[in-house]
Symmetry: C2
C-alpha cells in the first residue's frame, strides 16, 4: 500500500467505482451530441425550437403550465423566491438550515435579493407540518427540498407534504419545490412528477444529478410566474445566446435515465443493507428512499480514509472519493447511485464488504 495515495486518487484509479454514472468528462457531451445534426439551429436568447420544445416537454411532465430552462439551480431558485417575495410584498422566505441557498450560494439571496431567510427544523431533521404551522405571517414563500440532500436524502411522508401544502395555501404562503433530486424519489413515493408538483406553486428540477447531464435546470409554474422568471434570468446574466450545449444533453439523458430511477433506488436499498451489516457503520436513512444515502462511520476522517483506500487497493472497489469529518471519532460520506453500480461484479462488491466488515470489527 502506498501511504501517500489520497482517497481521491485511489478512487479515481479503482476498477469499480460505486457512485454516479461515470466520469464527468467531455465524453458526456460527445455522447449526448451523437446523431445530432450539425445543421440544427441554436436557441437564441431563450427562443428557438431546441429550448422551446424542451421547456414544453418539461412543463407537461411536471404538470405545470409553463417552464424555463436555466443554466443553474442557484439562479432559478433565487429568482423563484424573489418573484414570490415581490408579489406578496414580504421579504421573508422559509427553508431548512441546510438548504442549498443557505450553505452553497455565498449568501446570494441576501446580497442580490435582500431576502431574509427563516430557518425551519434543526440541522438533522426534516421540516414538519408543525414547523410550518409555527411560521410567522410575514413569510412570502416556503421552500421544501425533496429529498433533503444534506441529511442523507431523507423524505417526509407524502401525506405530510400534502398537509404542508394545504396549510400554506390556507395561509397564502407560496410553496416552492427544490426538486434537484425529484426524479429520484418518485419510485418511493409511487407518484408521478405531476402528482408531487401539484402540491407546489413553483418547481425547480436539475439535470446533472440522477439524470447525469452536464448542467442546467428547469423552473416551472404558471405562465405569469415563468414570464417574470425570464426577466430575472436576463438580469442575472443567465439568458445566454445559446444554452443548447446543456439542453441537448439534458434532453437525451432525461429520456435515457428517467426509466432507471427505480433501479437506482433499489440498488441504494441493497447497498445500504451491506453497509449496515458492518460494525460501527450506519446509513442515514437506515433504508434509503431514493438513489442516495449517507454513510456514517465511527472513526476519524483520517482513519476512515486509510480504511477505504485499503478496500480500494485490495478489491478494486471504490466506495467513496471523499469523506467529511463530523468529530474526532466520526465522519460520513454521501453515496449517490447511478449506472456504475450495476457494472460492479457482485463477487467483487461482496469481497469489498467482507474486507470492510473485517477492518471495521478490528478497528
Amino acid at each position: 500500500m502506498n501511504d501517500t495515495k489520497t482517497l481521491q486518487q485511489a478512487f479515481n484509479e479503482s476498477l469499480y467505482p460505486v457512485g454516479g454514472h461515470g466520469k464527468r468528462n467531455v465524453g458526456v457531451l460527445l455522447e449526448a451530441f451523437q446523431g445530432i445534426d450539425g445543421g440544427t439551429d441554436s436557441d437564441t436568447y431563450g427562443s428557438g425550437a431546441v429550448i422551446e420544445q424542451f421547456q414544453t416537454e418539461m412543463a407537461e411532465y411536471l404538470g405545470k403550465t409553463s417552464s424555463v430552462f436555466f443554466p443553474s439551480g442557484t439562479m432559478a431558485q433565487q429568482i423563484a423566491l424573489r418573484i414570490w417575495s415581490d408579489r406578496s410584498g414580504k421579504t421573508k422566505v422559509a427553508y431548512h438550515p441546510l438548504c442549498h441557498l443557505e450553505i452553497h450560494e455565498q449568501n446570494g439571496l441576501r446580497e442580490l435579493h435582500r431576502l431574509e431567510p427563516v430557518l425551519l427544523a434543526d440541522k438533522t431533521s426534516l421540516i414538519t407540518l408543525k414547523d410550518v404551522e409555527g411560521l410567522p405571517d410575514d413569510v412570502a414563500c416556503l421552500l421544501l427540498e425533496l429529498p433533503q440532500r444534506e441529511i442523507g436524502g431523507q423524505l417526509p411522508a407524502f401525506e405530510e407534504v400534502e398537509a404542508i401544502s394545504a396549510h400554506c395555501r390556507k395561509r397564502g404562503i407560496k410553496l416552492h419545490l427544490d426538486g434537484a433530486r425529484l426524479f429520484e424519489v418518485l419510485p418511493y413515493y409511487r407518484k408521478s412528477a405531476a402528482e408531487v408538483c401539484a402540491l407546489f406553486d413553483s418547481v425547480y428540477i436539475s439535470f446533472y444529478k440522477g439524470i447525469g447531464g452536464i448542467a442546467g435546470a428547469i423552473l416551472a409554474g404558471d405562465t405569469d410566474f415563468t414570464e417574470a422568471s425570464k426577466v430575472w434570468k436576463r438580469r442575472h446574466g443567465g439568458d445566454l445566446i445559446s444554452l443548447y450545449p446543456y439542453i441537448v444533453p439534458a434532453s437525451r439523458y432525461f429520456k435515457e435515465r428517467l426509466p432507471k430511477m427505480e433501479q437506482y433506488y433499489r440498488d441504494a436499498v441493497e447497498l445500504a443493507a451491506l453497509y449496515n451489516g458492518c460494525q460501527a457503520v450506519t446509513t442515514r436513512p437506515a433504508v434509503p428512499v431514493s438513489n442516495m444515502f449517507h454513510v456514517h462511520v465511527d472513526l476519524s476522517k483520517e482513519a476512515a480514509e486509510r480504511l477505504m483506500i485499503s478496500v480500494c487497493e485490495q478489491t478494486g472497489v471504490g466506495l467513496t472519493h471523499n469523506i467529511n469529518a463530523v468529530s474526532d471519532q466520526s465522519c460520513y460520506y454521501e453515496i449517490s447511485l447511478g449506472d456504475r453500480y450495476r457494472a460492479i461484479p457482485k463477487d467483487k462488491l461482496h469481497d469489498a464488504f467482507r474486507l470492510l466488515r473485517e477492518l471495521m470489527s478490528g478497528s
Copy 2:
C-alpha cells in the same frame, strides 16, 4: 418576387449572406470539439485544467494578473461594477446611454445591485475626456465600451482613452473596459490587447462576437478583484459545475480567428465604401475602425426591407437579415463581418451593389 417572404427568410435562403462567420447551429459545437478526447476531464465549479489553463492564457493575453471565465458578459460586467462600488463605498457608476447594461439587461444593475448609473454623452456620440472631467466625485467606476457598438462601432482616438484613463486614476475613479469587441479594434489601434487593457482596472471580453464561439466571457484584473468576482459569480448562479461546453469552443475559435481580425477590419472598410457609393445610403462610421459599422438608409424600414429582399432574390447576396426603423423616412442596420464575407464571389457582390445603386437612385 414572393411578397409574403420576410427579410429574415430571404436572408436565410440567400446563397451569399454577408455578415458573421456562419449559421449559429450545433455545427459550431461539433467543429469545436473535433479532436478533443472524450476522456478530458470536465472543469468542476471553477476548478480543473480546462478552465484554469484558459483563464491563465487569457490573463496573459490581456496583460492582467488573473482572469475568470463567466457564462455571460451581462453577469461579468454587473459584477465588476459592483466590486468597484463596494470597494469605494460609492453607488454611482458612469457609462454611455446605449451601454449594454442600460438597454439590454432588464435593469439588472439597479434591481440586483442597487447601483445608480450616470449617463455620459448623448445617444449619438462617444464619451469624451470632457464628459469624464465633468463627472461628480461620488462615481465609483466608469465603463468604456471599445468600440461603442450601438453607434456603429465608433472608437475614440487611443490618445483620448489614455487621457481618460489618466484622469480617472487621478480622481480615484476605477476604469472598466467593455471589450465585447476588443479583438476587433486592435488592428485599427495598432496596439496589443495588453497595451489597451493597461489603461483599465478591469476588462471584460466576449467569445461569441468576432471570435465566433458559442457563449461566454472573461473578466480580468488583479487577483483581489478576480477572487471577489468568483464569489459574485457563485451568487449570480454562474459558477456552473461544468463550463467546458463554452470554454473549449472559446479557446479553439480564439486561436483560429484572432489572426483574422485585420482581415475582417479591411473587409469592413471595403464594404462600407460600396455602401457609401449608393444614393441616400451612408455608413456610420464613414470609414469603419473594426469589422462592424451601421448602414443608414433614407427610406422607411418597410421600403428598405422590400429593396433588400429584391437584392437577395435577384443576386443571391443577403445584405442584412434585420432592419431597424429610425423614423418614417429612415432606418438602419448593423453589419458585422466575419468569415462569410470572403466566401462571396466578387462579381456577385458587385452585382448586388449595382442593383442596390439602381434601386436607390430610383427610390
